[in-house]
């Protein structure tokens, strides 16, 4: 029943965020970039549900657009990291020998950097852009996927059904694709959910620092950065973006918990 509560609350939160993001990608009440100095720094009202910022831009619209923006970046990053990481992990775990050693050496080099630092470093090289962010964050996350997949492959190799596949006479690659890969899905999906949360937070942090998505394009991180000067005078400017991030992360964490419990072999 705790499982259901987690899944329920998490699902509701993420569902809401998803809906907002999808809508925000196509339509917002106001143009998020439209400047209207006459209406600047208004507190939430009927016309501007979440108020306006120092340029008169509608906060609600910016928040929605930000959701879409951050959401897409996070989604692409997770997809790329999972695909790249799984490919490398399976190769390393299955082929072993020198392939394994070389791949893992590179992987360990990347893992030796704290994630955000690596992303920062790559951003320095590539320059600030959305593509750059996706590449940087993928590089920061793929190594963990490699580690998990390789670990799973190594343990699955010892399972009798993998031996059975060889016993039947299947070539190695068939064994790998048909028997090993599908059983990697569970641990990777657990990792993917927490990765999504991490990427979202990292992108927000980088944008907050000014090294991620650059203004005027809105993302929750850079909205929060802009709100610093108006922390006391226009409280909503600081509350809204932060609350958005917190609620989204909470939803992801709860869903991730529910997923992990569901996939726990002992609960089956």
């Amino acid at each position: 029943m705790r499982l259901r509560a987690n899944a329920l609350i998490g699902g509701v939160l993420i569902g809401a965020v998803l809906v907002v993001a999808l809508i925000g990608a196509m339509w917002t009440p106001y143009d998020p970039l439209e400047i209207d100095l006459l209406s600047k720094l208004q507190s939430p009202s009927a016309t501007h549900w979440l108020g306006t910022d120092e340029f008169g831009r509608d906060v609600a619209s910016r928040a929605m657009a930000g959701a879409a923006s951050s959401g897409f970046i996070a989604l692409f990053t997770v997809i790329c990291a999972v695909l790249a990481g799984t490919a490398v992990g399976v190769l390393a775990g299955f082929l072993r020998g020198w392939t394994d050693r070389v791949l893992m050496a590179f992987n360990d080099a990347l893992l030796a950097f704290p994630g955000i630092l690596l992303a920062l470093a790559v951003m320095v090289v590539i320059g600030a852009s959305r593509i750059g962010l996706v590449v940087a964050l993928t590089l920061a996350n793929a190594p963990s996927v490699v580690r998990v997949v390789r670990g799973t492959v190594l343990s699955l190799r010892e399972k009798e059904y993998v031996e059975a596949s060889r016993m039947i006479g299947n070539p190695e690659w068939v064994t790998m694709l048909r028997h090993v890969l599908p059983n990697c899905i569970a641990p990777v999906s657990v990792l993917a959910t927490s990765m999504f949360g991490w990427v979202l937070l990292a992108e927000s942090a980088l944008s907050f620092l000014g090294l991620g998505v650059a203004p005027p394009a809105p993302t929750w991180g850079n909205m929060l950065s802009g709100a610093r000067s108006y922390l006391e005078s226009a409280v909503w400017l600081g509350l809204v973006p932060g609350l958005c991030i917190a609620l989204t992360l909470l939803g992801i964490n709860l869903l991730g918990d529910a997923l992990r419990d569901r996939l726990d072999p002992r609960m089956q």
Binding site: F113, L120, V124, A246, N253
Partner: protein, 314 residues
């Protein structure tokens, strides 16, 4: 045991080399003339020529790497373009600030989280456990920079108890210095308590399932003894690993908190350097932080056998 320690330390050497290589490669990937990048636009032709010679730009790349590595090993991380200071001493100075905040925050968090996780695991699925897990999840879902801003708003601006900007080193004036770092430490500690509590609870639950715990109860040991002597030592080891990871990650992500609280730490040094295109500093901070991270992981691995004798035997 000694064999394990020696082996583990030796394994770090190739990692360190790879780390240095990665930083070197990353810096060379930045578009532009490396000499110009390192000296800045105001350098004159003579200085540039000298830099090119020093960097060995006319030589094959592997040799350039060797040159650079030798310099690094001698402690020469170059000089900041912005103010001409030697990079390494600058980094060390800033590192003290960052490290003190991170260490104190994580220590506080661990002191709360480990017992909290243990108790939550002991009372698994009862209301106390749900409350602890719920609280922990809430805490770790909050972005650190937002929490910092909120605390700053509440305690700094609204209540006026604590200063909003600035920093005074503790060595200069302990009382004053304390006021400046309370909020950042509190922010970090709150969030990390959430992270560590969940981990501690998860590993304690694993251990409680195991038969030697039931065996201890079958001997007639009181619950407190069972928890203290049988569960805690075995559950602590994975948490220790996580503490190491957390420390390392915080060193990377401390930049946001230092920005919020305007602290002269390592993270802000890096961010400022990136904006100012002060590449020697960028390179230096990257290298230094990665090295510290490797060192922390090594320390954690070396401490592991204290908690799990099976590891030492491998």
């Amino acid at each position: 045991m000694l064999a394990y320690l020696v082996r583990r330390v030796a394994m770090t050497v190739p990692t360190l080399l790879l780390v240095a290589l990665t930083v070197f490669v990353l810096m060379r990937l930045i578009p532009g003339d490396p000499a110009l990048l390192m000296l800045g636009d105001s350098a004159d032709a003579a200085q540039l020529a000298e830099a090119r010679r020093q960097l060995g730009l006319d030589q094959p790349v592997p040799l350039q790497f060797m040159h650079w590595l030798v310099q690094v090993l001698q402690g020469d991380f170059g000089h900041s373009i912005a103010n001409g200071q030697a990079v390494l001493p600058l980094i060390l100075e800033r590192f003290q600030v960052s490290a003190s905040i991170v260490l104190v925050a994580v220590a506080i968090a661990a002191l709360i989280a480990v017992p909290a996780g243990l108790i939550a695991a002991w009372k698994q699925n009862k209301p106390l456990d749900v409350a602890i897990v719920g609280g922990a999840t809430l805490l770790l879902s909050v972005p650190s920079f937002w929490l910092g801003l909120l605390l700053l708003l509440a305690f700094g601006m609204k209540l006026g108890w604590l200063p909003v900007v600035g920093y005074v080193p503790l060595t200069e004036d302990f009382g004053q210095g304390l006021l400046y770092i309370v909020l950042p430490i509190a922010t970090l500690a709150l969030i990390e308590t959430g992270v560590l509590t969940r981990m501690s609870r998860a590993s304690a639950i694993e251990v409680l399932r195991l038969e030697y715990v039931t065996h201890a109860r079958a001997k007639g040991a009181p619950e407190s003894q069972v928890l203290r002597r049988h569960v805690l030592p075995n559950a602590f080891a994975p948490t220790l690993t996580l503490i190491g990871l957390v420390l390392g990650h915080l060193l990377g992500g401390i930049a946001v908190l230092e920005t919020v609280f305007t602290l002269p730490g390592l993270g802000r040094l890096l961010v400022d350097a990136i904006f100012a295109r002060d590449y020697p500093v960028v390179q230096g901070v990257l290298l230094f932080t990665a090295l510290i991270y490797v060192a922390i992981n090594l320390l954690v691995d070396l401490c592991y056998p204290l908690f799990d004798p099976r590891v030492a035997a491998q």
